[in-house]
C-alpha cells in the first residue's frame, strides 16, 4: 500500500522547482495595507453618526440599534423630545452614543434597522490605538467620522430598498 522513497523524486523535484522558479519572474502580489479607495464600494469597516438633510443630528435615540446589536457594543442614552427647527415637528434626541469597536463584529445590523439613517458605516478602518479606550467610539468620534472618513454606499433605507425593491416587471 504505502509506497517507498525511490530516487525518482529527484526528477519530480525538478518539476516542482520549475514551478517555483517560474514564480521568480512573476509580479509580486502582496500589497501593504490597502487604501480605502481600492476597496469595493460596499467595504465596511467603522462607523459614523451623520446629520440629516436639515443639518440636525439625525439620531433620535430610539435604541433600536442598541437592542439589535448581537455583541452589545452600542450604548444609547436618549434625550428629551425637542422641537425640530427645520420641520417644526417634535423629535427624539440622543444625548450619548457609545460604540465599543473592540467587540464589534461589523455585522451591519445597526445600520439595517436604523429608521432615520443616522448610523452609517465608513470605508476606512480605525487606527489601532495604544489603550482600550482608543477603540471606543464616543459620540464625538462618531460625528467626526462623518467628515473625516469616506462613508460607504448604504444606509438603513438603501439596504431596505435593496432587499425590497420597487415592484418591477418580474421575470
Amino acid at each position: 500500500m504505502s509506497s517507498r522513497v525511490g530516487l525518482n523524486w529527484i526528477w519530480q523535484s525538478a518539476k516542482a522547482m520549475i514551478v517555483t522558479g517560474k514564480h521568480l519572474f512573476e509580479p509580486r502580489t502582496t500589497e501593504g495595507l490597502r487604501p480605502a479607495e481600492s476597496r469595493a464600494p460596499r467595504y465596511r469597516a467603522s462607523f459614523a453618526l451623520v446629520h440629516n438633510e436639515h443639518g440636525e443630528e439625525a439620531c433620535i435615540g430610539c435604541k433600536l440599534c442598541e437592542k439589535i446589536c448581537p455583541s452589545d457594543v452600542i450604548t444609547v442614552v436618549g434625550g428629551p423630545k425637542e422641537l425640530s427647527e427645520a420641520t417644526g415637528k417634535k423629535r427624539g434626541t440622543c444625548t450619548d452614543f457609545v460604540l465599543d469597536l473592540q467587540a464589534c463584529i461589523i455585522c451591519e445590523l445597526c445600520v439595517q434597522v436604523c429608521p432615520v439613517d443616522a448610523i452609517l458605516m465608513v470605508r476606512e478602518q480605525e487606527v489601532p490605538g495604544y489603550s482600550r479606550e482608543d477603540l471606543v467610539l464616543t459620540m464625538d468620534k462618531l460625528y467626526a467620522n462623518e467628515h473625516d472618513k469616506a462613508l460607504y454606499w448604504g444606509s438603513g433605507s438603501a439596504l431596505m430598498e435593496m432587499q425590497n425593491p420597487k415592484k418591477e416587471a418580474s421575470s
Binding site: R4, A16, M17, H23, L24, T29
Partner: protein
C-alpha cells in the same frame, strides 16, 4: 611563511567571508523565497532590506537569556559554542584560489591549512557536528528537543556514510586525501563531475549523492527532520533564547556555504576554470554561489520527508549506491580510464 602568519592572512578573510556570507544568506533566503512566493521579503531596514541581518543580530543579542529550570545548566550553555566552531573549522582545508607553478601545473592555494588528510578533516568535523546539537537537545530536558536531538544524531550519522563514501570517489581518482591534490587532478583530467572522460558519469552521480547527503547534514529541506517545526516546533532550539538561538541558526547557514564550497572543490574543479589562474577565486566563489542558490531553491520548492523515510532512503538506496560508485571508480582507476 610563518604558519601563524599564514593562518591569519588567509584565515581572517575566510572567516570574514563565511560570516558575511552567512549574514547575507539570511537576507538572500528571505528575498529569494519572497520573490519565489510572489511577495517582498525584508525591505525596510537598509537598501532592499540589506541591513536586516544586522538588525536581527542586534535583536538577538538584546534578548533575555532564559535557561529552563529543569535543564542541565552547564551543557545547555556550552552547547551553542560548538556548531559554528566545527563548521568554520572544516572550511580550513578548502582551497579558494589557484596559481600556476613554474612548471605549468595548476596549484590550489588560498587554503588555510593544506593538510594531507584534508577530506578526513572535513568528514571528522562533520561527524562531530551532531554532538553539540544532541547535547543541546538533551540538556534542555524537553521532550521536543530530546526527540529532535535523537533524530538529529540518527540522521547525521546515517547520512555521513554516503557522504564519506561519495567523497571517496574523487579521492580514488586523485589518489590523495588532500583537497589541493584533488583540484590539481581535476586540472589535468577535467572536473570530476563535468567533463568528457568516462569517469565523469560516476563523478556526476557521486556529486549528486554527496550534495544530497550534505543537504541532510546541513538539515535542509527535504531532510530537515530534526528541525521539523510543524511537528517538533523548533527542533533542539525550542528552549534557546536570543543569541544562543541565533548561533544555531548561524551554524546552519554557515553549513550551507561550506557544503556548497566543498561540493564545488570535490566535484566541480573548485578554483579551476577558463581564464587565467587569478580568476580562480572568482570561479570558486561563483561555483559556490550556484550550488548555494540551488540549496535554497530546493528548500523552498520541496516538502520534507518523514524520519523513517529519510533513514529508508539513506540505508536502502544511498549507502549501497555510493558503495557501488566507489567500486566503479576503483574499476575505472584500475582500468586506466581515470
Amino acid at each position: 611563511m610563518n604558519p601563524i602568519v599564514h593562518a591569519l592572512v588567509i584565515g581572517v578573510p575566510l572567516l570574514t567571508f563565511l560570516m558575511g556570507g552567512a549574514a547575507l544568506a539570511t537576507w538572500f533566503e528571505r528575498r529569494f523565497s519572497g520573490k519565489m512566493q510572489t511577495r517582498w521579503g525584508p525591505t525596510v531596514v537598509g537598501p532592499a532590506g540589506l541591513l536586516q541581518p544586522v538588525a536581527d543580530a542586534l535583536k538577538m543579542m538584546q534578548k533575555e537569556d532564559i535557561v529552563p529550570r529543569a535543564a542541565d545548566r552547564t551543557l545547555f550553555n556550552l552547547a551553542p559554542l560548538f556548531p559554528p566552531f566545527l563548521v568554520i573549522a572544516s572550511a580550513a582545508v578548502i582551497p579558494f584560489a589557484a596559481t600556476i607553478d613554474a612548471d605549468g601545473a595548476v596549484k590550489a592555494t588560498g587554503v588555510v591549512a593544506d593538510l594531507d588528510i584534508g577530506i578526513l578533516w572535513v568528514m571528522a568535523l562533520a561527524g562531530l557536528m551532531v554532538f553539540p546539537i544532541w547535547v543541546a537537545g538533551w540538556a534542555a530536558n524537553n521532550k521536543y528537543t530530546m526527540l529532535s536531538g535523537m533524530r538529529m544524531v540518527a540522521q547525521g550519522i546515517s547520512y555521513e556514510i554516503p557522504m564519506v563514501l561519495c567523497a571517496l570517489v574523487p579521492v580514488i581518482f586523485a589518489g590523495s586525501l588532500s583537497l589541493s591534490d584533488i583540484v590539481a587532478y581535476q586540472a589535468v583530467h577535467g572536473w570530476n563531475a563535468l567533463s568528457l572522460s568516462p569517469s565523469a558519469i560516476v563523478g556526476a552521480v557521486a556529486a549528486l549523492l554527496f550534495f544530497l547527503a550534505s543537504l541532510a547534514e546541513a538539515n535542509r529541506i527535504p531532510f530537515d527532520i530534526p528541525e521539523a517545526e510543524s511537528e517538533l516546533i523548533g527542533g533542539v532550539m525550542v528552549e534557546y533564547t536570543g543569541i544562543k538561538f541565533g548561533i544555531f541558526m548561524l551554524a546552519e547557514y554557515l553549513h550551507t556555504i561550506v557544503a556548497s564550497a566543498l561540493t564545488a572543490v570535490l566535484f566541480f574543479g573548485g578554483p579551476l576554470g577558463p581564464g587565467p589562474a587569478v580568476l580562480g577565486l572568482g570561479w570558486m566563489l561563483g561555483k559556490t554561489l550556484v550550488l548555494f542558490v540551488l540549496i535554497y531553491w530546493i528548500r523552498w520548492s520541496l516538502y520534507r520527508f518523514r524520519s523513517d523515510q529519510l533513514m529508508d532512503l539513506c540505508w536502502r538506496i544511498l549507502v549501497p549506491l555510493s558503495l557501488v560508485l566507489v567500486m566503479l571508480s576503483a574499476l575505472l582507476v584500475a582500468g586506466g580510464f581515470a
